[in-house]
Amino acid sequence: MAQAERQRSVLRINLDILNAVRDEGDAKPTHILYKANLSHERMTRYLDDLTSKGLIEMKQEGENRTYRLTPKGVSFLIEMRRAESFVQGFGLNI
């Protein structure tokens, strides 16, 4: 698992996180951690980065913290799916 994680690009990891958030709607960190296959420390770093870029937003209700896609994040994800399909045609990976 650790080796597979090293081989994933930063973009791929961000995409896995965004897909996890999209699938859940309001995604809990544990769900993202499981779906994106990351350690807690790395996931926190990536979530902070995506939040600062305006692709996801955090909602805090008491002890519960959830994440959801922003409209910018939805557009980014659509464009990335197009890009992924395109690069697959030439045998490349994101």
Partner: protein, 247 residues
């Protein structure tokens, strides 16, 4: 010159073109065919192919910026060059015969256009093939590209159109081979369509190579048509990959 040539063609050969470009001779033949529409068909197919090539180049560029991939950048440059070359060729396909017969001064311009098209096409496929090679074998393969081009240029001084078609055919064979390996490793519907597109363009270049060797104007038209079908496959790929994002 053989007696089957028309009077107009004989006048073209007296300009000395027979020593310069088999392909240009062929293009003139197509244009002087009794079927008046044949040159228009060549023009239309080349223009439509050029539009698809430029569209593919645009999407490759757009996505290369997004995913920061140098292979995609190479593919973008390659298809842009192909598009430009096809536009140049389409432009000359309608007027070359008339110009060569009626205007001695226009001869150099037509020759230059034909030379430009063949060169740009060859460079385009070198760039695409090197992009595929980088993807498969890493950076060491990059040293091969200048050698291929230098060899082609040296041979091309002798019989340029023949050599350029042959080199392009070899490059396309490499691209199709790599495409097949990629497809067999992890096949997706997108890699299938791209493989089909490049395979059709490979077949087209084989037919075009034979047509240049035999000066067969019918084969030249068939080759141009098959090449167009290859670009139609690439168009289907671009459209379907765009539709994924919308779904």
């Amino acid at each position: 010159m053989p007696s089957v040539y028309s009077g107009a063609e004989t006048r073209v050969w007296t300009f000395g073109l027979d020593r310069m470009s088999e392909r240009l001779k062929l293009q003139v033949r197509v244009e002087l065919l009794p079927m008046a529409a044949s040159a228009v068909v060549t023009f239309s197919l080349n223009i439509l192919s050029a539009i698809v090539a430029l569209l593919t180049s645009y999407f490759a560029y757009r996505f290369s910026r997004l995913v920061d991939n140098s292979v995609l950048k190479a593919i973008s440059v390659g298809f842009m060059l192909l598009g430009i070359g096809l536009i140049v060729d389409a432009g000359t396909s309608l007027v070359s015969g008339k110009t060569l017969v009626e205007s001695f001064a226009g001869r150099e311009l037509i020759l230059l256009a034909s030379f430009t098209y063949l060169t740009v096409q060859m460079v385009a496929y070198v760039v695409i093939a090197v992009g595929y090679a980088f993807s498969a074998y890493g950076k060491r393969i990059g040293n091969v590209a200048p050698v291929v081009l230098a060899g082609a240029a040296a041979l091309g001084l002798y019989r340029f159109s023949l050599v350029s078609y042959f080199v392009t055919f070899i490059l396309l064979a490499f691209v199709v081979f790599q495409g097949f390996l990629i497809h067999s490793r992890g096949r997706t519907r997108f890699s299938s369509i791209v493989l089909l597109g490049f395979s059709l363009i490979l077949v087209a270049h084989f037919v075009l190579l034979v047509s240049v060797l035999t000066l067969g104007s019918g084969l030249f038209l068939i080759g141009t048509g098959v090449q167009f079908l290859g670009f139609v496959s690439l168009l289907a790929f671009v459209v379907r990959s765009e539709a994924v994002g919308a779904g």
